[in-house]
Symmetry: C2
Subunit: 479 residues, 2 copies
Amino acid sequence: MATPASLIQYIDDNADAFIQRLSHAVSIPSISCEAAHRPDVVKMAVWLSNQLKHLGVETSLVDLGKHTSDGEELHLPPAILGRMGCDPLKKTVLIYGHFDVQPASISDGWHTDPFTLTVSPKDELVGRGSTDDKGPILGWLNVLEAHQSLQLPLPVNLRFCFEGMEECGSEGLDDLIHSEVKKGKDGWFDNVDCVCISDNYWLNTRTPCLTYGLRGLSYFKLTVSGPARDLHSGVFGRMVHEPMTDLIALMSKLVDTSGDILIPGIDEMVGGPTVDEIALYKALDYSIADVEDSAGAPIALSSDNTKVMMGRMRMPSLSIHGIEGAFSGVGAKTVIPAKVSGKFSIRLVPPQTPELVEPLVRSYLLSEFAKLKSKNTLTIEDLHGGKPWVTDHKHWNFEAAKRATEAVYHKTPDYTREGGSIPVTLTFADSLGVSVMLLPMGRGDDGAHSTNEKLDRSNFIQGTKLLGTYLYEVAKAAT
Amino acid sequence: MATPASLIQYIDDNADAFIQRLSHAVSIPSISCEAAHRPDVVKMAVWLSNQLKHLGVETSLVDLGKHTSDGEELHLPPAILGRMGCDPLKKTVLIYGHFDVQPASISDGWHTDPFTLTVSPKDELVGRGSTDDKGPILGWLNVLEAHQSLQLPLPVNLRFCFEGMEECGSEGLDDLIHSEVKKGKDGWFDNVDCVCISDNYWLNTRTPCLTYGLRGLSYFKLTVSGPARDLHSGVFGRMVHEPMTDLIALMSKLVDTSGDILIPGIDEMVGGPTVDEIALYKALDYSIADVEDSAGAPIALSSDNTKVMMGRMRMPSLSIHGIEGAFSGVGAKTVIPAKVSGKFSIRLVPPQTPELVEPLVRSYLLSEFAKLKSKNTLTIEDLHGGKPWVTDHKHWNFEAAKRATEAVYHKTPDYTREGGSIPVTLTFADSLGVSVMLLPMGRGDDGAHSTNEKLDRSNFIQGTKLLGTYLYEVAKAAT
């Protein structure tokens, strides 16, 4: 069944009302990481749940229990699970989104109140959560409303999983997903055929994309300690082993200035690209100029476009984030810090996992530290990690999204792998064993966690059409 | 003229009263670096000036003008200049001390109120300023009081220069000294033959010392900048040149883990020790065990005692203090910092000067940065510096102090060079052109800038005898 023309027409005709609903959603400051705003996250959950119910979705607000934040015990905001349709002749699509947002304050540099959706002269919908991730969630609501108003049956069964803690570690969500999957047909995720997550972005401002991979992460903390307390560099300089000297020496041996990781076995774990993969990278509508524009300076590691793209998408990367315990203020302090901790992380790609990478990092650093012949002490901690993910971008789930993209945007989408992590993706992929796809609504310059976050009006409205059309393409797909 | 036995007797007999006076001095929280305590520094100046007047010293409270601290314009506390005796047949000794103190609060870990002098069970006089530098100043007052009470004439003419901003950069003092020296016989520093500064410490807890050298300093800030803003390591990792990678690479090339400075020409500028010097280092009552005890860990750079001592006293040292602009908090943040500044400093010894060292540092770092082939930008700033100082430890000024030490402590003093800086020393040495000597009263474990600062009762009382005896030895010295 083709996407009904009336659906597309309804979306165009009701664009202003959709923006009005987004405006209401943005007005609730559902900041999950600030205890004072926890009631707003709950308010947002209730509002969203009521919207879904009003649109015919059976919903449940699921209590996720309590957690401790900054020493304070807080109730987690509820997750929303939803179900619409149980037709065994239709495919079932599980939709994920999150209704919490990053902190925002006018004093951070916003040009307008972050919780008042403002339409800019360039037709951008500016406000916290506009693109991350209230816009995409409301895109789905728009599709439901259109079907309800037009009295159209949905082409697929839908399941919803909306959470309110994504910006704060998704606490409680993994347990909920695993538990629902375990319940089988008695759970909320019964008979799911594929998953669609709309919580990332186009590479650029021009071309829609489908995302089929994410990098994982291993985050390390190296601590060198020696003296019992901070020492005066005048009194002790050139008498004792200084922890900073050792730490800097170790951290200089992690990655070179061309981006190659110097820890033996890490880069080597990743095979070369296939011909098919190279073609995908060459086809990307993304260039070094885009990267440098986005970074704000001409600092790309290479002049080879494909190599730079692969650096982000199919290669691991190592970044040094900082040092805890050393002098970090302004001015000039002549301290020899007693205990310093270097922080670095490695973004992982298949077949790397935190479990495979950690022993390589540990043994290399211990061996390099031994070469220093220092009398200080080194400890290595693996602070946290997550597996990388890559899926088949030719699965019918992706083919459906490709056709939907071509129908709405008249463009072939970029096929991308994200350099960062969206852990829930792996939870769905591992627990459900079905195709998971990331289908972004917003553009690469939306400023998701930054000031003046925006979603272009056209991305919201065309994006709504894309989500609707995708459901019809899924329904048609040969499995 | 020998030191009168009555002087020594008086000091012993009046020890408790001397401690009472120190107790009063400590009770005034004359913290120069905290604006709120500026009136207390002034109160301290007035009290000290009145004490001196009462003891027969002609004094002047000298207005040093204003300065800006944390954006607030404050009046500097006055310096105290003093004069006692103008006998052309006597030598003239200029005495320096400071009556301001470091901040202190019970919450920092003091066992007793820092501004209430407390006698510990080990006969330590515990309180902020006890050893740094109110104890030594009051040692001079004790000597004056004894002479006044015993109606003894002083064996030398005295000049005093006491300041209230030492712990806060000695603002205004250099100008005052230069201006007084310029006035010649019309100034307060007329006919000065030698200078005695009591504002440092014994190497250990056992043996008095005379200090004839100080290291200088060159403090550098290396800034690497690239992106226009902080970047997400997932999104940009292995696409762009990361400032932290470059900065860590540069900082790893400054000093090795044996303490050798890797910047060509710095270590090489310093000649080897003379036979006489080696003998001085070998004679020091200070061992690697003392160093490690003081650092709180077995981390000495070498097992060669003399080498370790020379590392502090007659060699330059390079310490890396920290990084400004990188992630320095607890926890795990996956940021690529846009602009990071590494701070390091080099302690200098003659013939090094900041002016000689700076171009070596700059050209080396620029050349090492070029090797990195990074597209980021490096800037090098010389934040501040000071010349090193070494004087003739066989000058009659030192010989007098040596004989005084032998008379009071029945020990030959250690001859030491301090690893840190006391800038006023150079100001006196350069402007007056006479012998300047550092004659410490306190022990190496007094904790001058730390919690539970103390001065042993015996150091205060024997130290008073030392200062008095020194004046008689100066009077006798053949010039």
